[in-house]
């Protein structure tokens, strides 16, 4: 695998969707309109926790231009259907009641009712005329309040799932718990020469995708539904919507638009079942587009957390014991990323004795959704801060300390299995030899180092590769293209068929046009869908070889395929001239018909991705404001198919992590209303806030993929929280354990 010489893989062609995107021609979620279309609007709860006593829609229905009004009571009442799954799993009852509340509202901004009208303004005005009678309940707004013995309970029927034995008696807000351990923790700490212990806190932060959620739903007289929407997975929208509405999924077709960022936040549904139900009622298409404020208030942030952490080492830097007790906010319904957070926390190091517990806790805030390496940045913030503290106390170089403890192939991961080939050590060595690590620091500057780990998912994918008569090809998959996957897929087809990337058209197919494909997420597309693309391309090559064999009158094994041509082989050499793909494609009709390669597969998890980040931070001691002055992200990509987009993933994840570390947070008032639901007050870093983020691609081939590819999209957000905090420690002398390290918080700490 590693010896293979690539012609197209590893190059940097211009992405096929690039010109449309930079010229504004690309069609995103809100760009689609249907003839006769209505506009939908939602009424949202003004309370963070309340029982719905009644909903009176008569005034709204009487407004001229209103064509349909919908309440949660009109959606099918689902039984709890918990499906243990990624990042805590899903319950379709929860998804349904998050789309439209039924009996209770569980966060400020929870959708209660919907209106479809001839204009967006009429829909919004009518929605506001819906009268809802609430019985206000005490909101549960933080983790300590949620787990207190006298806490108000969000869900009377909530039973904890996982490693909770015995189960708490009576109702609880603790929805689940996971636990991992190894060795004898107390003995390990007794053996340590130095032990550091801290409590770390992070706040809810949003994925911050530029494009708000949007969809259009149309229903025909035959009850066939078409949904155009922005999503990370058309098949998920189809199946989830069918489940929420108790419809036959065969009646729903989903066409994914271009997507203006998702980062995990578009792996679930909010608007689509509501738009379908309104369209069904009004018998006209319905378009729904969220405002930025709605996106913040009612779509998936990731968890706020509390992590109590303890780490012990010998004088030579050998880690000997660790202990973590973690609490993750799930928001209104169960399903925080506590599990993967626990699995990643010690993922980078050989620690012989540890104990990790992580709790999934419901609170009266928006239901969290996946966000890039869900759960890992928060737990890693704690562990990498403590590794930094230990290195300082022991007078060790932070990279040497990490190298001393780094996991290698054959080591056991903290969650059980043994690692295959991994590249953590290579990223640390690349960091050590990088000019950044040797560069002098200026006044009020500090340098931070942190490592990070993410699993990378596999899951199910399908691909079709169709050959056209001119020898060009179309590759169709079911994955919305978030990070340049179309270009990478075209490169894979080029590599197998031997035709230029510009002669491959990559297509994001709708749910009627390609086999089932799991969502774009989990850093899985280049890996798993890429494997399907390679297999489908090889299917095309096999068919081309068979056509050449037919033309030459030889056996199949006498035809080789190389650089876009069929070549005689195995004794047939010299008898025939090579047949280029263009000629074979031209003859498809007379040699057996059109050629289409197909592949569908379920891939195992994609092989761990490790990264090491270096951050230089400068702090203004007068104001507490800080600025990242240099940042380098180093990560094992296995094999970078399109290095430019791999670097883009490293840079994007780093930027989001830096924002999380320095500025971003949901701020709630005492009633649970978010006070900063806009980009002016919810401060994400923009290009002018950051230096050019340097990148180093390390390539330790992944044996699970034919080219050695690993997922790369999520790992880059894991190290930055700690890398920035460690740099802040260097710049200020203060160990920050609470994020974000915003100017007022920094100023208060350095003045203390």
């Amino acid at each position: 695998m590693s010896e293979r010489k690539f012609k197209y893989v590893g190059t940097r062609p211009i992405r096929h969707d690039g010109v449309d995107k930079v010229t504004g021609r690309a069609n995103f979620g809100a760009d689609f309109d249907a003839p006769g279309m209505l506009h939908g609007a939602l009424l949202r709860s003004p309370h963070a926790h309340a029982r719905i006593l009644s909903v009176d829609t008569r005034a709204a229905e009487a407004v001229a231009g209103v064509k349909a009004v919908l309440t949660g009571q009109e959606l099918p009442k689902l039984q709890s259907m918990w499906m243990g799954g990624a990042e805590g799993g899903i319950d379709f009852r929860d998804i349904a009641e998050n789309c439209l509340a039924r009996d209770k509202v569980l966060y400020h901004g929870h959708a209660v009712a919907a209106v479809a009208a001839t204009t967006p303004e009429i829909a919004l005005q009518a929605a506001r005329m819906i009268e809802v009678e609430y019985e206000e309940l005490t909101p549960v707004l933080d983790l300590e309040a949620a787990v207190a013995s006298d806490a108000p309970i969000l869900h009377d029927d909530l039973q904890p799932i996982g490693a909770t034995d015995p189960l708490p008696e009576g109702p609880t807000n603790i929805a689940g718990r996971v636990e991992f351990s190894r060795g004898d923790v107390d003995a390990g700490f007794a053996e340590a020469d130095v032990v550091v212990e801290r409590e770390f806190r992070t706040q809810m932060v949003h994925q911050g995708y530029i494009e708000p959620h949007a969809c259009v739903a149309r229903i025909g007289e035959d009850d066939q539904v078409v949904v155009w929407c922005t999503t990370q997975g058309g098949f998920a929208v189809k199946n989830y919507s069918a489940m929420v509405l108790q419809m036959d999924p065969a009646k729903i077709k989903v066409i994914s638009s271009e997507i203006g960022g998702g980062f995990g936040g578009k792996t679930t549904i909010y608007l689509e079942p509501v738009a379908i139900a309104l369209a069904r009622k009004a018998r006209r298409p319905v378009k729904m587009v969220m405002s930025r404020e709605e996106v913040f208030r009612a779509t998936g942030p990731t968890s706020g957390t509390i992590v109590r952490a303890e780490l012990g080492a010998k004088r030579d830097g050998t880690l000997v014991a660790g202990r973590l007790s973690m609490f993750y906010e799930a928001g209104a319904y169960r399903g925080s990323p506590a599990g993967p957070g626990a699995m990643c926390a010690f993922g980078s190091y050989k620690i012989p004795n540890f104990y990790i517990e992580a709790h999934d806790v419901v609170v009266n805030k928006p239901k969290v959704a996946a966000y890039r390496a869900p759960g890992a940045p928060m737990s890693t913030f704690a562990t990498e801060s403590l590794v930094d503290e230990l290195a300082r106390e022991l007078g060790l170089d932070p990279i040497e300390m990490r190298l001393h403890n780094a996991v290698d192939e054959g080591d056991q991961a903290p969650y059980g299995p043994v690692y295959g080939p991994i590249g953590l050590r290579e990223t640390l060595e690349a960091a050590r030899s990088h000019p950044h690590y040797k560069a002098p620091l200026g006044q009020n500057q500090g340098r931070g180092i942190a490592c990070g780990f993410w699993f990378n998912a596999g899951m199910s994918s399908s691909a079709n590769v169709s050959l056209h008569a001119d020898g060009s090809a179309v590759v169709a998959t079911g994955n919305p293209d978030i990070g340049g996957s179309r270009a990478a897929q075209a490169q894979m087809v080029s590599e197998e068929l031997g035709i230029p990337v510009e002669r491959v058209r990559p297509v994001v197919a709708d749910t009627d046009s390609v086999g089932y494909t799991d969502m774009t997420g989990g850093s899985r597309v280049c890996f798993a869908t890429g494997m399907a693309v390679i297999q489908a391309s090889r299917d095309v090559v096999d068919q081309l070889r068979a056509r050449a064999a037919q033309i030459w009158g030889v056996e199949l094994d006498s035809v080789a395929w190389e650089d876009g041509r069929a070549l005689p082989a195995n004794g047939a050499e010299g008898d025939h001239e090579p047949l280029p793909i263009e000629e074979l494609a031209q003859q498809m009709g007379r040699t057996g018909g059109p050629i289409v390669g197909k592949a569908s597969l379920t891939a195992p998890m994609a092989g761990p991705g490790f990264a090491t980040h270096l951050c230089d931070l400068e702090v203004d001691p007068e104001t507490g404001a800080s600025r990242v002055v240099r940042y380098t992200a180093i990560q094992d990509a296995g094999k970078a198919v399109h290095p430019g987009y791999v670097e883009g993933q490293y840079q994007g994840g780093s930027a989001q992590g830096i924002g999380w570390a320095l500025n971003e947070e949901y701020i709630f008032d005492e009633r649970g209303e978010m006070e900063n639901p806009g980009f002016l007050d919810y401060r994400m870093p923009v290009a002018s806030d950051l230096p050019m983020i340097d990148t180093v691609i390390v390539e330790v081939p992944n044996p699970l993929h034919p080219y050695g590819v690993r997922g790369v999209g999520e790992t880059p957000i894991v190290p930055p929280l700690a890398a920035v905090a460690n740099a802040m420690r260097g710049a200020t002398g203060v160990r920050f354990t609470v994020l974000p390290m915003s100017p007022p918080r920094v100023l208060e700490a350095i003045d203390a």
Binding site: R177, G416, P417, G522
Partner: protein
């Protein structure tokens, strides 16, 4: 026989057993065997992925187990 490992989170359901060796051909038969030996554990295992010889499978009842296979149970992983 396949070595099946139970993390500390599962051990309350196995009476503290950390590892057992099972002569089973596939993940499915392993899960059936575990449900018989440790009644109630199946509810926990339904929510989990299975790692066979280091490879994590979210849902693979028909994955074959070799006599030398090592099996762990881990939370299911997707991602963002």
């Amino acid at each position: 026989m396949a070595q099946v490992h139970f993390g500390s989170g599962l051990q309350p359901h196995t009476g503290g057993v950390e590892r057992i060796d099972l002569d089973v051909p596939r993940v499915r038969e392993m899960l059936q065997e575990l449900a018989e030996r440790y009644p109630g554990i199946e509810v926990q295992l339904e929510q989990m992925a299975v790692a066979v010889d280091g490879q994590i499978y979210n849902d693979a009842p028909y994955q074959k187990l070799a006599p030398t296979s090592e099996v762990h149970f881990v939370p299911k992983i997707g991602g963002g």
